[in-house]
């Protein structure tokens, strides 16, 4: 029997297709620009070249910035998972006075324009006489990234069945063992999901980095922005493609190492 396709189904798929098109079309345009030989955006493309990728990798400023961005993002991922997960545990379990206010406080970096956070940190660093070290940049990114980990971990903790911990304790496990063998594996999907957000937020971070980078120590988004002011050619598109591929690679790597699939099942 032939199944009748209703208006609702057509509208549903149509809307999904439109959203997907809206989300992916910038990437498609950038990828075309990255392999098109013309030094400007032209459609349809007039040929195919890897010259822009060669230009990107031959430019030491780009390569250095790419590595710096990657290193900073990895450091931010680790730090924000540690800080965010412990903060979320304290907020969910600690029965702290002013818990709501504390949660709002931890989330506040997301509500402030990031450029103000960058400017404020820049002033603090200069007033404290510490200049603009790389660890200062990492701290700046971490401030922005931690709320993501807190939010995703709190979401997991809200549905956490505490009887599992009680059962483990009744069977003789100490608090440390309960945490590492029961609590942590169960909250892990939330922590990892937050960590991935943290990595991406750091890797693409522009407003905070703008104030905290130093000459010869600029992150990729800052280098790209400055490059764009003077040379708007396909190297920018190639850099974007490398950046997207790298971010995707890290997500896949995390999935492979820690198991993001657990989150998808969750």
């Amino acid at each position: 029997m032939r199944r009748k396709v209703g208006f609702g189904a057509v509208a549903y798929w149509g809307l999904n297709a439109a959203i997907l098109f809206f989300l992916l079309s910038p990437i498609a345009i950038v990828s075309v620009f990255a392999v098109n030989p013309t030094p400007y955006i032209a459609f349809p493309p007039v040929g195919f070249t890897f010259a822009w990728f060669a230009k990107f990798f031959a430019n030491p400023d780009f390569v250095h910035a790419l590595w710096l961005s990657l290193k900073v993002a990895v450091a931010v991922l680790v730090l924000s998972m540690l800080i965010g997960a412990t903060a979320a545990m304290a907020l969910a379990r600690g029965e702290l006075p002013g818990r709501r206010a504390l949660t709002a406080f931890f989330m506040s970096p997301l509500m402030l324009p990031a450029i103000l956070t960058g400017l404020a940190l820049f002033q603090i660093y200069l007033l404290a006489g510490i200049g603009r070290p790389v660890w200062g940049l990492v701290m700046g990114h971490t401030v922005i990234a931690v709320p993501y980990v807190i939010r995703t971990t709190l979401a997991v903790l809200a549905n956490f069945d505490r009887r599992l911990e009680e059962a483990a304790a009744l069977l003789g496990a100490g608090p440390v063992r309960v945490f590492f063998e029961v609590t942590l594996p169960l909250i892990r999907p939330g922590v990892i999901a937050g960590g991935i957000f943290a990595f991406i937020v750091s890797f693409d971070q522009f407003p905070v980095s703008l104030f905290l980078v130093v000459p010869k120590g600029e992150t990729l988004p800052v280098v790209l922005f400055n490059y764009m002011k003077f040379d708007l050619d396909g190297a920018i598109a190639a850099a974007s493609m490398v950046s997207i591929a790298l971010a995707l690679g890290v997500v896949i790597l995390l999935e492979w190492i820690i198991g993001l699939r657990a989150y998808l099942k969750f």
């Binding site: 013309t38 400007y40 820049f122 200069l126 130093v214 600029e218 922005f225 003077f230 050619d233």
Partner: protein
Amino acid sequence: MRTSQPTRRQVLRAGAASAAMLAAPAVLHAQTSTLKITTWGGKWGEIMKGKVLPAFEKEFKCAVEADQAFPYLPKLQASPRTDPIYDVLHSNSNELWQAVELGMVERKITTKEVPNIADVYPYAVSDKIVGVSIFTSAIGLGLRTDKGLAPPTSWNDLAAQALAGQRGGYLVPVNALGQAHLMMLGKIHGTGFEDLDAAYKALAALKPIKLFDFTGQMEKALLSGEVIMGVIHDSGIFRYDGQNQPIEFAAPKEGVLALEQVLNVTPGSKVKELAFAYIDYMLRPSVQKELAEGVWYSPSNKTVKLDAKYDAKLFNTEAKVAQLLQVPWQWYNARKDEIDARVQRILKG
């Protein structure tokens, strides 16, 4: 047991050695002074980092920290006045005027601090400049040569009906070329650079117009044919010389606008002498020639001898320099918010 008494010579030698040891940090400091500057990216940045700055570091036995990451002014403003983040600010004239109003740069630089100022064209140190202009570009009109257009002779040619939707300008609130062009419209259609009513009316007549943030975007729009005539500085066109691109620069008869590259020293700099030495170095004929021919900027130093193809196009003689118009940035900056709001309303949609 016999003990030997130190001789007078030994005592003096030991004293000298001790003094040298005590002075060593100061000497070391002098040798490793760091000069913090701002500079552009792109081809300019390549030449600076590749040749100009290393040669300066070698000659003056110092390190140069060159910041290419915008925005310079907010960073300078946020740093302590007594220990500013930059010793030398390189920017366009509009930004230097903002900086001087905030007390973040010196008002004037003279030959006393920078001897090479004696050789610059008067525009480089005119009352429209805060500091010294080391180079300038000329803002005029860029056009496609393959679209059957007659080269424009006047700024008014940009308003031609045939160019509707294919002419290009800038987002006035964020771009100095857009701001200078607006003032030019006031001069052509009204009583002068400060005639805003005439400027607004002339700007509205340019609609529909494609607007860009940066000159780099305008260059690409001209190269792609998205724009067939637009406001641009000469170096943005000349840099494609020899690449067989169908674009050309035209200097309107009413004059071209100066887009000066200005250097100035911050009052709180801890290495002021080095900062002035850097400006002097940037005005040296050899450095001026290197950069002028690398990025097609017109040198401020009158004694610079350019190669024939650059000499033919750049503004490097008294007669050519006389065509450069300098706009009143101090006046403009004082009204910027009001102008931005009005321009946004005019160009909305």
